[in-house]
């Protein structure tokens, strides 16, 4: 019977699926297994179900000579050395698609919360500071009719565009690859050079993968190009934004506000200056955190794992070239 290590508790439905196929060990703690523990755990396993916080590199694969499949429960996989896995003909599974809508919802939630100073307002109420109504208190920004700039027009970017239309927003975008014209028309999106998107948008939402080219995609230069009233949203990956440049931009009102679901590093340290700012909303990487989405992610990762163990082609594979003979 194959052995499987699942690096964190996931939904029982998914664990039940896996348990039918092999002998499962689930890491019970909330904190990820320490490196040396992880290396021990994978020593005799056939399958590994991993998370973004588990580094899966050549060393780990060396420590796991029987490893036949890596199944990542996430749409990103920057913690995995995919080339190394491919070299060893180990298929790597991931969970795209299922979290597109939910992530777009969260990005929009952050956009709206930042624009309308929702967290600041809620905090004032909670701490008993709401004493009266005044026409000039807590003024935020209009979302309806504003211009939204989307950087990275992938699946999540398109869903953002769809939501933005309900608010009568104008949508500009930039990406390395331009979308076909019929799609631009369907989603009402306007392609522009990066700097134009930065200059003209009231809201800028980042939806790119983390790759060397997108590391610090938003730095001092980009922040300076934005409107002083601009709101920046990041529900992609923390390192896409230079956190020091962002802090200075928010502190000195180079831009108006930011809403972040991701930080660099993660978790963001308690003494990080970004946390001290009222105009920066930070939530703990929960864009895909809904019961339904996490359940779908769990069962998809279980399905990928099982197919890998059985030597069948997995549906959502990062490196399908392993299947070429």
């Amino acid at each position: 019977m194959p052995k499987i290590f699942v690096a964190r508790r996931i939904f029982q439905e998914a664990l039940d699926m896996i348990a039918k196929e092999g002998q499962v060990e689930v890491w019970p703690d909330e904190i990820p297994p320490a490196r040396d523990v992880l290396l021990q755990k994978v020593a005799d396993v056939d399958g590994l179900l991993s998370l973004l916080t588990d580094k899966v590199d050549a060393e780990l694969m060396d420590a796991a000579p029987k490893l036949k499949v890596i199944s990542q429960i996430a749409v990103g996989y920057e913690n995995i050395d995919v080339a190394e896995a491919t070299k060893r003909r180990i298929p790597v599974g991931y969970t795209p698609g299922v979290l597109t809508n939910t992530t777009a919802d969260m990005a929009f939630a952050l956009l709206m919360a930042a624009a309308r100073r929702l967290v600041e307002g809620a905090e004032a109420v909670k701490s008993g500071m709401w004493k009266t109504w005044h026409p000039l208190h807590f003024l935020g920004q209009d979302i309806h009719g504003a211009t939204l700039g989307i950087l990275g027009m992938g699946r999540i970017g398109l869903e953002m565009a769809k939501r933005a239309h309900g608010f009568g927003m104008t949508i500009l975008y930039h990406d390395v690859v331009r979308r076909p014209l019929d799609e631009e028309k369907k989603y009402g999106i306007i392609y522009q050079p990066l700097d134009t998107v930065l200059r003209k948008s009231d809201f800028i939402s980042v939806h790119v993968n983390l790759i060397p080219e997108t590391y610090h995609l938003i730095g001092k230069r980009e922040l300076t190009l934005m409107k002083p009233t601009a709101v920046l949203i990041n529900a992609a990956r923390g390192p896409v934004i230079d956190p020091k440049a962002l802090y200075h931009a928010l502190k000195n009102k180079v831009i108006n506000a930011a809403g972040l679901d991701v930080t660099d590093p993660e978790p963001i340290p308690f003494d990080d200056p970004l946390i001290s700012l009222d105009n920066c909303i930070i939530v703990p990487h929960i864009a895909s955190a809904s019961v339904a989405t996490r359940l779908r992610m769990s069962t998809m990762a279980a399905d990928n794992l099982i197919n890998g163990l059985k030597g069948k082609r997995m549906v959502n594979c990062v490196n399908p070239e392993v299947y070429q003979s």
Partner: protein, 333 residues
């Protein structure tokens, strides 16, 4: 022959553009404090003015109108008029101005901001993170919220704001149910909204949002019985008026898990008292009546309220009047 300029009292500081409109036509006094003028002061102030510009915190009742013999116009900086005795004003032929229309889109925006924040636990997780509690980067079972996309939204009251909320909901692929005094064919044609009776809406919606004015019929429209029949996973959003929801029943519902969460921009009383038990609940988010709180909208509202005030002072028809009946006697002449 020089004509005496009319006098006006404005109960709170407004954007300068609006004050300028009034000062062209009248001698104005602006209440400078952030707190409203106390009732006895307000009564003194209105004694000598022809026009007042009020907001939701100022009570304009019979007694106040009796104390204002020269008053010719009340201009309210809001879409709602529940602080004003409209019938009493009409009886005295005093037109009452208000600012609907300009607040619809912005209130719908805030409604959606609250809905999304409650569903995705934005405020709760933000506060937790700010306290330094984010120690584990990621866990598949932490902070699970509810999905907004493809869920069912129940809109109670399909007026201007309800329609704007429906428009936004379509971008999230939500199904829309609505209940209103009269069916709204436009909502059905444009946003595929489906008219249902009130209890069906409550029983089958994932999100219930209230967009009714506060009247004697809508006071405690959402009480124990209504909360009991909502889904245990449902989230209630109120950006209308506080008393539309029975606060004690809401506390019970949130505490006992009859519903999953609530988001309020309005409370009863308002402001909510700091020791109100509702504020101890983690599954409730409350903002301090920010429905129309954006720079552009407040400016637009203030300008419209100023125009209403000036029109009243000049005995012209108000651009946006809540009681055109106040004019009937003059028109009959």
């Amino acid at each position: 022959m020089p004509v005496a300029r009319p006098k006006a009292f404005i109960t709170r500081l407004l954007p300068q553009e609006a004050l300028d409109i009034v000062s062209c036509e009248a001698d104005l006094e602006v209440w400078p404090n952030k707190y409203p003028p106390p009732p006895q002061i307000l009564r003194q102030k209105v004694f000598e003015v022809e026009g007042i510009l009020t907001n939701i915190m100022d009570r304009v009742d019979q007694a106040l109108l009796d104390a204002a013999p020269r008053l010719r116009v009340v201009s309210q900086l809001a879409a709602g008029l529940d602080n004003i005795d409209l019938a009493a004003a009409t009886n005295r032929h005093i037109p009452v101005g208000y600012t609907p229309g300009v607040v619809s889109a912005v209130t719908a925006d805030h409604t959606f901001a609250l809905l999304l924040a409650a569903a995705h636990r934005v405020s709760e997780s933000e506060r937790w993170l700010r306290k330094g509690k984010w120690e584990i980067a990621f866990h598949p079972l932490f902070w699970l919220g509810s999905e907004v996309h493809h869920s069912r939204l129940g809109i109670v009251g399909m007026g201007k704001i309800g329609m704007e909320v429906a428009k936004r909901a379509r971008g999230f692929d939500m199904d829309i149910l609505y209940h209103s005094r009269t069916p709204k064919p436009e909502a059905e044609a444009t946003y595929s909204a489906i008219y249902t009776d009130f209890s069906t809406l409550l029983e089958s919606s994932d999100f219930v949002t209230l967009h009714v004015p506060l009247t004697s019929e809508t006071r405690h429209l959402i009480g124990k019985e209504e909360l009991r029949i909502m889904k245990p996973t449902a989230i209630l959003v109120n950006t209308a008026r506080g008393p539309v929801v029975d606060p004690q029943a809401l506390h019970q519902a949130l505490n006992k898990g009859w519903i999953a969460g609530a988001a309020l921009d309005v409370t009863d009383p308002e402001p909510i008292l700091p020791d109100d038990p509702l504020l101890t609940l983690e599954n409730l988010v409350v903002t301090p009546h920010l429905g129309s709180a954006t720079v552009t909208t407040r400016k637009r509202m203030a300008i419209l309220a100023a125009q209403n005030l000036v029109a009243g002072l000049k005995d012209e028809r108000l651009p946006s009047c809540a009681n055109f009946e106040a004019y009937t006697e003059y028109e009959g002449k």
